[in-house]
Symmetry: C2
Subunit: 189 residues, 2 copies
DNA sequence: AGGCCCATGTAATCTGTTACATGATTCC
DNA sequence: GGAATCATGTAACAGATTACATGGGCCT
């Protein structure tokens, strides 16, 4: 039941509607969790039913009425409990790794193309995370901000997302280089 | 349907039983995918039914008979298709990130403890990956091996696992340092 | 006129986890 | 005698994805 805590954590800093939440989780960044809109709408309904969040309707002109949610006291308590519990280990789960595992038995041209696409995707996200971090810390240095700033949680998760995507980009470019060099020189098969 | 391709990729280099496969996927390393034994037994059954792998019974004395599987021609074809298809982007999905996202609203003592545990876990895996890489490349240098060695796929996925766990370890230790420094000096809340 | 954005869902399906079951052998 | 290892599963449930539905307003 991690999604429910992810939603709670996302609603700590700002009051959001399901739609806005979906943008944070799906399109935008998802630097600490990832979910589809349908899952989020369902989870918000359950969270409100269980009293961990409360919603209020906000009518808008020229836009459908939206429902903004914020975390209640017992919602915060639930998050406290979650933090105290041991976290499960996290594993990478990535189609590309499967393909690379099979690299020696499969067409490396197509594989290199996939790796290049992924490197580009990672670069886009690196720039996005970079921009978010700059916005969060404003004119302070990173160390300054981490020492004295308000709300370092989102900053820290963003740092992890950045490092992860750098890892993706670097690994992809290296793997492409390896595959291409082996196509040139005769590597054993 | 990535699990089926992960199993195929795992069976490329060696003939394995469900039990042995489970060790690779669950306990051991799972450097390119992760799954529970039950899932694997089920997937092996389906793969054999669909003709992508073939099994043969191997009776043993003083041990139950095991069934070893290897990839068939159409299994290899399936993997080729999989590699050629675009890979979905991969996202981190990690309980700890959720907890850190909520760091500013939650007991940081418990959180720091979780982060320290995770750093230790990551270190264990770093050593494991390191040892695996050394075994794979033998007395050659990494560059030498990647250029001319047979089977670089598993080596490359192992490199990704290593980098990922280094990222985890470094980020965890940094996050702990940040949280502890903020407890000392009065950070805004 | 066609397509995108806001805003919220339902339904069917697929994937993954948890709990449980069985039975022999080897190691401490 | 008890625990761990080998070897294979079933059943129930929770979590995630895919496809589909609705309807007004804005932009080109």
């Amino acid at each position: 039941m991690a999604l429910r805590h992810a939603v709670l954590a996302a609603l700590l800093d700002e009051e959001l509607s399901g739609y806005q939440l979906a943008k944070v989780f799906d399109l935008g960044v998802a630097n600490f969790w990832h979910a589809r809109p349908q899952q989020l709408y369902a989870e918000l309904t359950r969270l409100e039913r269980d009293g961990l969040i409360t919603g209020r309707d906000v009518p808008q002109d020229a836009r459908p009425t939206k429902r903004l949610f914020r975390v209640t006291g017992s919602g915060l308590g639930e998050l406290e409990d979650f933090t105290a519990r041991a976290a499960k280990p996290s594993f990478i789960r990535d189609d590309l790794l499967i393909a690379v595992q099979a690299a020696d038995h499969v067409d490396t041209g197509a594989l290199a193309a996939r790796l290049t696409e992924r490197a580009a995707f990672a670069t886009t996200r690196i720039n996005l995370f970079d921009a978010m971090l700059r916005t969060m810390r404003g004119d302070r240095t990173e160390d300054e901000f981490l020492r004295h700033g308000a709300r370092v949680g989102p900053y820290l998760t963003c740092l992890r997302g950045l490092a992860f995507e750098r890892g993706n980009r670097d690994w992809c470019t290296r793997a492409v280089a390896v595959l291409q060099e082996r196509r040139g020189t005769g590597a054993r098969r």
